[in-house]
């Protein structure tokens, strides 16, 4: 009896909150151009960052600080999961081997999936998507391997080291920007050295965006697979 009362009460509360939010959103009409800073970005993205994809330019260059924070969040997630599920010795819990279709399929697909992931984050500044989606696709490759084989384990010692190295790489890129351009995360390749000004829209353009996205791609790939690895294992009672 109590739960019915509780449910109805919840519904009423949520409806009122919903009405309130709707009233708030009514002031922000859908579909109208509400941009202020957005126009500046759209007008100047090409010559200031050399990237065609405005979102990537904003994510890496204009608001690079967010992404730095963003990478840290994911790093914290993987360390946190690692810390929480930590056991002295762990082994896989999978019992049944993948079916023939799955195992052979994975053997065939894994390299291509990884390649496609690499493609996404290398062309971040040109095509939609960037470091994060690229990294995620690589992680799916490893997930595929986990599902197919009961004994397969990612080399998590090496992965942790790559995570650390790549993270440091990102910060060092920022520090180089500070050293050269005087500002932390300053795109010294595009601004000071002026490489790739002529071939906007092609691969070697967009300042340090590709470099950062490669670093992010690797980092996200290793982290997500690390999380998957931690979750798919169980502690061994010695």
């Amino acid at each position: 009896m109590v739960s019915v009362l509780k449910r109805s009460l919840a519904i009423i509360t949520l409806l009122i909150i919903g009405y309130w939010l709707a009233q708030g959103l009514a002031g922000v009409p859908f579909g109208q151009d509400k941009m202020l800073v957005g126009h500046y970005y759209l007008d100047h993205v090409k010559e200031q960052t050399g990237a065609v994809n405005a979102v990537t330019a904003i994510v890496v260059n204009y608001r690079g600080f967010d992404t730095l924070g963003e990478v840290t969040v994911l790093f914290i997630a993987s360390t946190g999961v690692g810390a929480l599920l930590w056991e002295r010795k762990k082994r896989r819990t999978a019992k049944t081997e993948g079916s023939i279709v799955l195992t052979t399929g994975t053997r065939l697909l894994v390299p291509f999936v990884m390649l496609f992931g690499a493609y996404i984050f290398i062309h971040g500044h040109l095509t939609p998507g960037g470091g994060f989606p690229g990294g995620a696709t690589i992680a799916t490759a490893f997930l595929l391997l986990y599902m197919a084989f009961t004994m397969y384990e990612i080399p998590h010692k090496a992965f942790e080291k790559t995570e650390g190295l790549v993270g440091m790489g990102y910060v060092i890129v920022g520090l180089i920007g500070l050293a050269i351009g005087g500002y932390f995360l300053f795109d010294w390749i595009w601004q000071t050295w002026g490489w790739g000004h002529d071939n906007i829209g092609r691969l070697f353009s967009g300042g340090f965006i590709p470099i950062i996205y490669i670093l992010i791609g690797l980092k996200v790939g290793t982290e997500l697979s690390g999380i998957i690895d931690n979750m798919l294992k169980e502690g061994v009672k010695e």
């Binding site: 919840a10 709707a22 959103l25 009514a26 999961v81 999380i227």
Partner: protein
């Protein structure tokens, strides 16, 4: 007290948020609450994106054909990119905490997990 006429996308986003909150408020099982939490996060992300949309304009990839004034607002899309990853991080953390919890308590029912109180 007129019913505010908001577009379908806002309506969709708000209802997703409310459904997520409903799950957290009512469901007894911890996992269901976590699912509710991630629904809410997706609802928020949808809201964030739909605020940035300008009807009749295309994605902010300024390849040859698209002029700056034809692109949608890029900032919310950048923000959502970060928000999604944060959503992933929070869900990963909550799930691992739930795993540890289950190992120690043997149950996922919210009523029983009350050792720390008062």
């Amino acid at each position: 007290m007129s019913v505010p006429n908001i577009s379908a996308f806002y309506f969709g986003a708000i209802s997703l948020i409310l459904i997520g909150l409903y799950a957290v408020l009512v469901k007894k099982n911890i996992l269901k609450m976590l699912i509710g939490l991630s629904i809410m996060e997706t609802g928020v992300n949808l809201l964030l994106i739909s605020i940035g949309y300008i009807s009749g304009k295309s994605a902010p990839i300024l390849s040859e054909g698209i002029e700056p004034n034809q692109a949608v607002d890029p900032i919310p899309q950048a923000l959502v990119l970060t928000a999604i990853v944060i959503g992933v991080a929070t869900t990963a953390m909550t799930l691992s905490a739930a795993i540890v919890l289950y190992k120690h308590y043997g149950t996922l029912n919210v009523e029983e997990i009350r050792r720390l109180r008062g």
